[in-house]
Amino acid sequence: MDVRNRFETAELRAFRQEVGNFIRASLPEDIRRKVAQERMDLPRDDQQRWHKILRAKGWACGGWPTAYGGAGFSDDQRYVFERELALGDAPRWMIYGEGMLGPTIMAYGTEAQKRQILPRILEGDVFWCQGFSEPNAGSDLASLQCKAERVGDHYVLNGSKMWTSEAQIADWMFGLFRTDNSGRKQEGITFLMLDLKSPGVTVRPILLFEGTPEVNQVFFDNVRVPVENRLGDEHKGWSIAKYMLSLERFGTAEVSRSLASLARLKTFLKDQDPFRHAPDQKDAIERRAAELEMELDALEITEVRFLFKQDGANEVGPEASMLKVRGTEIQADIFELAMMCAGGRALGARRDESGADVGATKRGQDSAYPYFNFRKTMIYAGSNEIQRNIIAKAVLGL
């Protein structure tokens, strides 16, 4: 039996069609082109415009319960919705506010926090970033040392956060800060939220080697954060972070995005026919594309098995780490193949900031960019080494 049949009910088919039609009709063309160029670094304005279009339709924050203004999608609907976003070249949902902080606030936040924070994420007015990693706390996240000292009704922050994606376009940061060093390193960590306009905050952009300004180092020099901006109890931030990271598992395999990328590659091969003078090379390339398609198939089925347990249990287990490992590997292989298919065209580094000219992209110009840029996916959000450690420890009991 194909576990994907669960998405083939009449209701979900109708839903899929509705979402697909809506994206085709409503997604601004300039945004669509940038997404089709495999760009993850969409400018704030693009993200906001699209979010507000979804909001007007009632589909912003799809996974949020209707009580918080979300679309209240079931997990099946979310899965279908995300697939249609990817196939329609629409932006990913906003991971930090919508995907991570929102559901965590619902689980751990005070009534005041829910009231203040959730509506502004829902409306797409406040952008969040995630302050977890530090220069010396990457894979070993719990060794973080960025300090929050309690002084009266404030915490005073000193230190820095590293690899903070989108800090350059965010308004607020949520993050983990060291409030106590006396016990195990997982203890003494507190979850705080702060306004990036607070005095003492400096955001230093870090350019990636392919030229994209996506990540930052954020410095704190005696930054005062009111105690009411703490999520959960003091020193108990680690378990909140773990809860939050478990939410991230939904979609880390990027199956839908890879399906879209592979479809783009096939279109390129068909339209441009770059191997028209080399039939046996064409055969070899088509063979590799077919192999990737099958590997993606295996990943997709595995993802559905892991995310939608037959017994109805919603808890996603540690085996889901495998989805991130394989998902990022396959994605990288697709981009590598696309780059090689472009031949000499792939050498050009011209980026299309306006999203206006897709002609160059269609011919394979700049197809090396995603190959370079997406190396990061195997490093961030728990490197693939850490994901393998998780499987070794939590699944295999080693």
Binding site: G211, A278, G348, F372
Partner: protein
């Protein structure tokens, strides 16, 4: 990389090492790149002064008459230093073509200028769809009086925008895919009718798409025999391919060394990450790839001296396949074992990875060379 060095080669090696460690240190590289390809490019001037441009050119035309081993030595050092320049198109491609096929007048007019750094060359052979087979030529050179009129499109011409003279392949007879009917022309970049669309490449170099619209050249622009230039082009592409394989070996060793240093000092979970067996084995795999790639690059360089073209090309293809695969492995693993730091613009690893990836794409990828290897077997 070379198993043994002569005294001259030892001196040559030391001079390039000094250059890449002092003058072309990674922190200085960005500023130097701003001048890349300009008239007063200080790097190119230094290349000329130190005799590297002359090294492999014939003695009777201002060169030093060096061997392909000298070429390999230079390229490996350029690879280690991430030295970005029009050296490959000017010397390995252009130098080879002129040496093999140009007449005395053409050599005298061009080669001394090349050796002195006054003349840069580029080979315009790729055409849409930018696949590496040099017989995919639709550009036509039509007889016109005692000259020719050339029309057609060339793409991804390395340093085609900064070259002073272009070596252009064009059809004087036959059709796309035919081995016969290809001729080579030496054309000044300033010739009337050449439209240049230049762009930077991912490795901070330059490339250009060139459109030739009724470009008129005189009979003395023809290099070698009419209709019979493919052998010369293939020899030049083999020289260029062997050269960038040697460069890749230098770049891979540099990434290897950087990664090895890093995993010894980067601490996570209370220990240097290099103390973890999972990391150690991957480091060993990188080491083995570097060694094997070095062996094959050496064989590729040695093959340039083989008189029989098919045997030469086959050995060069074998080198390109092995080096290309190793370049992917070593490049990707270097980034992954470093983690985030290697994704940044200010750290050198990502730039080496980009150059290695461009080398994979240049003159045909692994798939293309595997196919060529089989067809020549």
């Amino acid at each position: 990389m070379l198993p043994t060095l002569t005294d001259e080669q030892r001196m040559l090696k030391e001079s390039v090492e000094r250059f890449r460690q002092q003058d072309y240190a990674f922190e200085k590289r960005k500023n130097l790149l701003a001048k890349l390809g300009t008239e007063d490019d200080p790097v190119w001037m230094q290349f000329a002064e130190l005799g590297w441009l002359a090294a492999t050119l014939p003695e009777e035309h201002g060169g030093l008459g060096g061997s392909n081993a000298d070429l390999a030595l230079l390229m490996e050092q350029f690879g280690r230093g991430l030295v970005t320049s029009p050296f490959v198109p000017t010397i390995a491609l252009g130098g080879t073509i002129l040496r093999l096929a140009a007449n005395e007048a053409q050599k005298s007019a061009i080669l001394p200028g090349v050796a002195e750094g006054r003349i840069k060359l580029a080979l315009a052979y790729l055409e849409p769809p930018a696949q590496p087979d040099p017989t995919i030529i639709a550009t036509r050179a039509r007889r016109d009086g005692d000259g020719f009129v050339i029309s057609g499109d060339k793409v991804a011409v390395f340093y085609g925008n900064v070259a002073d003279h272009l070596l252009v392949s064009a059809r004087t007879s036959g059709d796309i895919g035919d081995r016969h009917g290809i001729s080579l022309f030496l054309i000044p970049i300033s010739a009337h009718g050449i439209a240049i669309n230049a762009y930077s490449t991912h490795d901070d170099g330059w490339a250009a798409d060139l459109r030739f619209d009724q470009v008129r050249v005189t009979a003395d622009a023809l290099i070698g025999t009419i209709d019979s230039a493919l052998g010369t082009i293939e020899a030049a592409l083999d020289a260029g391919t062997a050269a960038i394989c040697a460069e890749a070996v230098g770049a891979m060793w540099c990434l290897h060394d950087m990664t090895l240093d890093y995993i010894k000092v980067r601490k996570q979970f209370g220990a240097a990450i290099g103390s973890f067996q999972a990391i150690q084995h991957r480091m060993v795999n990188m080491y083995m790839k570097c060694q094997l790639a070095q062996s094959m690059a050496l064989a590729g360089i040695a093959a340039l001296d083989i008189a029989e073209p098919a045997a030469r090309s086959r050995a060069v293809s074998a080198a390109k396949v092995q080096v290309g695969r190793a370049a992917r492995h070593v490049g990707e693993e270097a980034i992954q074992l470093h983690g985030g730091i290697a994704m940044t613009d200010e750290y050198a690893a990502g730039h080496y990875f980009k150059r290695l990836t461009m080398i994979r794409l240049m003159f045909g990828d692994e798939e293309y060379h595997l196919r060529r290897y089989r067809s020549l077997g």
